[in-house]
Symmetry: C2
Subunit: 227 residues, 2 copies
């Protein structure tokens, strides 16, 4: 890969892969945008190459300022074949449908981060525990302190991968349809956005729970909050 | 690729790629399960191989009984390099967090379809229009009849890809945590599911609209409905 010059402070390094070819207007090289997209999600789509073909699997992740942590099991086939293989991790948040006057101008407003890199298998016990905490807290905040933490046997049975955030791109698409000032505006049709709202619902107790087991506050408080 | 025997009626053909290695208990080879997952979504993650590395991009799709239609622009780099290249299309619907008594048993309930194949570029004008209708109606039902349809110039500017549903797998994870009958049940902790509810919000009019332009019924009716 070509050497890339150091980017200005707070900007992402642009590589051949992360240079935005389509919808350049939506591309962002701001580090803060990457951090915000990664912080807002908890499911990513991990792309690996297996026997020359792509494989895309959903999995949970957790992110810090410089690292994305992933469960390793889904990447195991690819990693076993080639520990130096690059993966692509994509996090997508869909915000709304863009309903235009013409079908051609219909689109989707979304925020998307793509991270490329060769994942590192985390072996240091302290980093592994911390990485699992980050991963767990991203999807289920508060559970690390509430539930029983992994014991040594469970830690040994878990493969944790770390991917640095050195090579990443962000696309953000927002706003109304594009055809409000074109000839199609004369059609007199309604146009706008239909927001997609994702929120946590009411907790559903495990049927195996004894009657009267209270929902802890950190879980109950999430009901109705946006995801 | 190995020849695969014809599957029983209503079952998916299992190939080396679609054989479920992990969480076999969640795998389904029922054709109806594949159809249901594909019908429930409208965003997929398309995986292609570019210069030997995976690239995963979100895009809209539309599905029929035997075909998945995709906008071709996102796959153009990969297709230009190798028109015979296999792609992987993954559709994921996240249903709930599974909050167990131990962090180790935490997981996510989801439905996921993965489709492999070599996409075909749709060139027949009738199929192209029908494919775009399927794609448009999957995300924005009713808009094909309401908005202005693509004209010849727009059709020519659109690359539509078709992927047969011959090689696909489905994983469905559902239900309460697994540790309700293990030693951790004695911890007395709450456990269960936290549902993730995705629904359409209130339509947001394009600021360019003349005052009083009514929201059409087919859009207004979606507010509050599940995605």
């Amino acid at each position: 890969m070509m050497e890339n010059p150091q980017p200005p402070e707070g900007r992402l390094t642009v590589t051949d892969r992360t240079r935005l070819r389509r919808m350049r207007e939506n591309g962002s090289t701001a580090r803060a945008d990457l951090d915000a997209v990664l912080a807002a999600g908890f499911i990513c789509h991990l792309g690996v190459v297996v026997d020359g073909s792509p494989m895309v699997v959903p999995t949970v992740y957790g992110s810090t300022a410089d690292t994305l942590y992933l469960h390793g099991s889904v990447a195991s086939r690819s990693l076993a074949a080639d520990p130096e293989a690059t993966v692509c991790v994509t996090v997508t948040l869909v915000d709304s449908l863009v309903l235009a006057r013409s079908v051609f101008e219909h689109s989707v407003n979304y925020r998307c981060a793509m991270v490329y890199g060769v994942p590192r298998r985390v072996t240091d016990p302290d980093e592994k525990l911390e990485g699992l905490r980050v991963l767990s807290e991203q999807a289920a905040p508060g559970q690390w302190d509430y539930a029983r933490r992994p014991n040594n046997k469970e830690l040994a049975a878990t493969t944790l991968l770390a991917l640095t955030l050195d090579e990443a791109s962000v696309k953000i698409s927002a706003g109304p349809p594009d055809d409000g000032d074109g000839p199609d505006a004369a059609l007199g049709l309604w146009a706008g956005e239909l927001p997609l709202v994702a929120a946590w619902g009411r907790p559903v107790p495990d049927p195996a729970l004894p009657d009267g087991t209270a929902v802890p506050a950190h879980i109950a408080a999430r009901t109705g909050t946006a995801v």
